[in-house]
C-alpha cells in the first residue's frame, strides 16, 4: 500500500510555468516513501482558459482561439545517504496558438530544476499522528527562453521564467491504512537579472522578480487498500510584484496569485524485482477557486509513468 503513493507535483509545477507570468510553485518531484531512487516521465497538456487581472473580473478567452502548451518532462531523484537525496527535473515545451484560420507553434526547452532534500522527520516507528517530513532546497536554472527575450507574436516562444531561483520548503506526509495526507510549503527568491536588448525593446532591462511562495494541502484515498489511489489537492501560489529598471526609470508590476485545484489518480502497475511501476494521471484547474490576480488561468491534464527502486 505504501508503494501506491505517487506524489507527483509535475502538473502543478509546470502548469504554472506555462504562458506568461503567473507565480509558480517550483516544487520538484522528491522521494517521500521507502525508495532508493525514482524516475518519472510525463506528458501534460495545458490550455489557457482565461486571464485574471489586478482588479475586476477575470476574463475567459474566446472559444474559437486556443493557446495550449504541451510539456514533456523527466524527473529523477536518488538517495545519497540514509536521509539525503538529490534530484533533477527537465522539460521540453511545445507551445501552440491557433485560430480558425491560423496556427503558430514553437518548441523549446523549459527551465531545469535541481534539488536537494533531507528527511528531517523520519518515521522510524509507527505513529498515528506524527508525519514524515522532508526539507528541501531547489534551484531553477533558466534554460528556457523568458518572456523578456521572446519575440514571436503572442510570445509563444517564451518557455521559462528567466531567473535563477532558489526555493526552500518542507513536505509533510502521513499515511494510514487507506488514507493519506500531505502538506507542502515553499518560499522562493528569484535573483535579479539583466536582459539584453531585443527587437521589441532596444534598451537593456533589469528585472527583479522578488519573493514568491506556495503551499499545498492534499488528501488521498486508496479503495480497499488496492492498487488505485485517488487524491485531491489545493495549492495557492503567490508572487511579489516584479521591479523593472530601464534607462528611463523603474516600474513595478502587480503582485500575482493563483490557486490550483488538482485531482490525482495513480495505479500500481507492477511490484516485482525490487522495484515498482506506477502510472498516474492528474487534472489541474486554476479557474475553480479564487481570487486569482494578474495571472493566466490554465487547465492541465497530465499523464505519466514512474519507476521506483526499493530501498
Amino acid at each position: 500500500m505504501f508503494l501506491l503513493l505517487v506524489f507527483s507535483w509535475v502538473s502543478a509545477t509546470d502548469a504554472n510555468a506555462a504562458p506568461c507570468c503567473s507565480g509558480s510553485s517550483a516544487i520538484p518531484a522528491m522521494i517521500t516513501g521507502d525508495d532508493r531512487a525514482q524516475i518519472s516521465a510525463s506528458f501534460s497538456h495545458a490550455t489557457v482558459i482565461g486571464d485574471a487581472f489586478e482588479g475586476g473580473l477575470p476574463q475567459f478567452r474566446s472559444s474559437d482561439q486556443s493557446e495550449t502548451t504541451n510539456f514533456f518532462r523527466l524527473d529523477g531523484a536518488r538517495l545519497i545517504s540514509d536521509r539525503m537525496q538529490v534530484g533533477a527535473g527537465l522539460s521540453l515545451l511545445s507551445r501552440q496558438f491557433s485560430t480558425p484560420s491560423s496556427h503558430a507553434g514553437k518548441s523549446l526547452p523549459g527551465d531545469l530544476i535541481l534539488n536537494f532534500a533531507y528527511e528531517a522527520l523520519p518515521e522510524w516507528e509507527y505513529s498515528e499522528w506524527k508525519p514524515r517530513g522532508h526539507v528541501f532546497i531547489a534551484t531553477t536554472i533558466p534554460t528556457g527562453r523568458s518572456i523578456y527575450e521572446a519575440n514571436e507574436p503572442g510570445l509563444i516562444d517564451s518557455t521559462g521564467k528567466g531567473f535563477f531561483r532558489i526555493a526552500m520548503g518542507a513536505i509533510l506526509t502521513k499515511r494510514w491504512d487507506l488514507w493519506d495526507a500531505s502538506f507542502i510549503t515553499e518560499i522562493h527568491r528569484s535573483l535579479p537579472r539583466t536582459f539584453p536588448p531585443t527587437a521589441s525593446d532596444p534598451d537593456p532591462l533589469r528585472v527583479d522578480a522578488g519573493f514568491g511562495g506556495s503551499f499545498a494541502l492534499g488528501m488521498g484515498y486508496s479503495p480497499g487498500g488496492g492498487n488505485f489511489r485517488f487524491g485531491i489537492r489545493l495549492q495557492p501560489s503567490f508572487n511579489q510584484p516584479k521591479e523593472r529598471t530601464t534607462l528611463t526609470g523603474v516600474t513595478k508590476s502587480s503582485r500575482s496569485q493563483v490557486i490550483d485545484t488538482s485531482l490525482e489518480a495513480s495505479y500500481l502497475l507492477s511490484d516485482q524485482g525490487g522495484g515498482t511501476w506506477t502510472g498516474f494521471g492528474n487534472f489541474n484547474d486554476q479557474t475553480l477557486i479564487g481570487p486569482a490576480v494578474s495571472s493566466t488561468l490554465n487547465r492541465t491534464i497530465a499523464l505519466g509513468i514512474q519507476h521506483r527502486w526499493d530501498r
Binding site: P100, L155, D203, T287, L288
Partner: protein, 170 residues
C-alpha cells in the same frame, strides 16, 4: 474512555474533510469559473481623444494615434502616428517630422512584460516620397488580454530622449 482507533481516525478525517469543504466554499466566493467576463463581450478600448494625446515637451511636439485596424484574432493591428508642433499646429496639421528616430514599444504594466516587435516607419505617399510627420506602425499585436500601454519613443544613439504613452484595454 479511549475510543477505538478506527473511530478516532474516522473523526479526524471527518474534521479534515469539513475543513477542506470550508476552504473551498469560502474561496469559491471569487471563483473565476463562477464570476468572469467573456472575451466575446469585451471590445478593445483605446484612450479618449485629447488636444495633445502624446506630449514630447523637449522636442516641442504632440502626437496622436489613429487606428487603421485594431488587432483581430488572426492579424496584428496597425495605426498611423502623426506628429505636430505643440505651439503652432493642431491634430489636424500641419504635421512635422521629428528630428529623431521614432520607435513603438508595447508594455503590459500589471505583469511587467512587452510583446512582439512593432515596425514603425515614416509613411510613403503613392509617388514614394515620405509624408512629413506621419508614421505607419504595423505588427501591433498584444500577446494577451488586459490593460496595455503603447509607448512612443524619440530615440538617438540607442537611447531614449523622450517617451509618451497611450493606454489601451484589449
Amino acid at each position: 474512555m479511549r475510543l477505538p482507533i478506527k473511530t478516532r481516525l474516522f473523526k479526524s478525517f471527518a474534521s479534515a474533510l469539513s475543513f477542506f469543504s470550508f476552504l473551498i466554499l469560502t474561496a469559491c466566493i471569487e471563483s473565476p469559473i463562477l464570476h468572469h467576463a467573456d472575451a466575446d463581450t469585451v471590445t478593445p478600448q483605446a484612450q479618449t481623444e485629447a488636444d495633445c494625446p502624446l506630449h514630447f515637451p523637449t522636442a516641442g511636439l504632440c502626437a496622436s494615434i489613429t487606428w487603421d485596424q485594431m488587432q483581430t484574432e488572426d492579424e496584428p493591428g496597425s495605426f498611423k502616428l502623426k506628429f505636430w508642433d505643440a505651439k503652432t499646429a493642431t491634430s489636424d496639421g500641419p504635421y512635422l517630422t521629428p528630428e529623431n528616430a521614432v520607435f513603438t514599444r508595447l508594455m503590459m504594466p500589471s505583469m511587467g512584460h512587452g510583446s512582439s516587435p512593432v515596425k514603425t516607419e515614416q509613411l510613403q505617399a503613392a509617388d514614394g516620397s515620405l509624408v512629413a510627420g506621419v508614421y505607419h506602425a504595423t505588427g501591433v499585436y498584444f500577446s494577451m488580454p488586459g490593460h496595455w500601454e503603447i509607448w512612443i519613443q524619440l530615440r538617438r544613439d540607442r537611447g531614449v530622449l523622450e517617451q509618451a504613452k497611450v493606454d489601451i484595454t484589449i
